[in-house]
């Protein structure tokens, strides 16, 4: 009986550890929500607070855009019904974190990899890569 209880408790710890490892820390989750909200509100300054100065994004056609170019695109461009993300996964490596998900944008379903970094105590996005999904797994 004691062995069974010990195994169960150990099992719970293992499950908890795995779940935690796949979830972002609360401050990162908060930063993510604030950045998305700013983007959907067309608030480029709010979005910029959560974006590194050397940010770059590769869009589905392989073009590279800078922070200034993205800010110009976001400015005043409100998104009423943002599409839902699927297949969201996180991996955290100390002061860096990886967020991967699928989002359907006008070009079609697209795979995103977002790289977050903690700078001066604040989580910011350093890089985004987008790839159009053209083949089923």
């Amino acid at each position: 009986m004691r062995a069974a209880v010990t195994c169960s408790v150990f099992g719970l710890f293992v499950v908890a550890a795995v779940v935690y490892a796949q979830s972002p820390p609360p401050d990162l989750q908060k930063a993510r929500e604030a950045r998305s909200a700013a983007q959907n509100a067309g608030d480029e300054q709010g979005w910029a607070r959560y974006t590194t100065d050397d940010f770059m994004v590769v869009n589905p056609t392989g073009d590279v855009l800078t922070k200034a170019e993205r800010m110009a695109a976001i400015k005043g461009n409100k998104v009423a019904n943002p599409p839902a993300q699927t297949d969201l996964k996180w991996r955290v490596f100390g002061d860096a974190a990886l967020e991967t998900f699928v989002l359907t944008i006008p070009a079609g379903p697209t795979r995103f990899t977002t790289v977050w970094v903690k700078q001066g105590g604040m989580w910011k996005v350093a890089n985004v890569q987008q790839t159009l999904i053209t083949k089923k797994p």
């Binding site: 795979r111 790839t131 053209t134």
Partner: protein, 148 residues
């Protein structure tokens, strides 16, 4: 001003500019770990046709996003490269960004030629992590450039 003193002035200004540049780079934490650069170069050169090199520089559970938007595994990438010759890929526009001590972004463009002799180009994002003193890729995502 004589030619010698002009040359000397130019040399001093150039040296100061280089020192200032290096100092700014170091302050921003952008100095690339030589071991990371070496690992990244080796990984590009080997591609997925050398299983030992691929495994050496890739985490077993790495996230690998293909140009078709499919998530692959280390095993499937190695299987795909089996019996293939290493591609003659030319990397350009390489950029390393250190994310603290134990993670880094490596982004670059690769140009090559496909089996039909057509020019191809891709943008690649690699996220590296240092574990037990070794740099390994934790995530890769590849995007085809529409107009190579």
């Amino acid at each position: 001003m004589s030619r010698t003193s002009r040359t000397l002035s130019v040399a001093v200004v150039a040296t100061l500019a280089i020192m200032l540049g290096l100092s700014v780079q170091a302050r921003q934490g952008q100095t690339v770990d030589p071991a990371l650069k070496k690992a990244a170069d080796a990984r590009i050169a080997a591609g997925n046709t050398n299983p030992d090199t691929y495994r050496r520089y890739t985490l077993d559970d790495a996230y690998i996003g293909s140009p078709e938007g499919v998530v692959e595994t280390v095993q499937s990438r190695i299987a795909a490269g089996k019996g293939q010759k290493p591609s003659q890929l030319k990397a350009s526009d390489e950029r390393f960004r250190m994310l603290g001590e134990a993670a880094a972004i490596h982004s670059f463009r690769v140009d090559g030629t496909n089996g039909q002799g057509q020019k191809t180009a891709q943008r690649r994002l690699e996220v590296w992590t240092k574990q037990n003193g070794e740099w390994k890729v934790a995530a890769v995502q590849v995007t085809d450039v529409a107009k190579p």
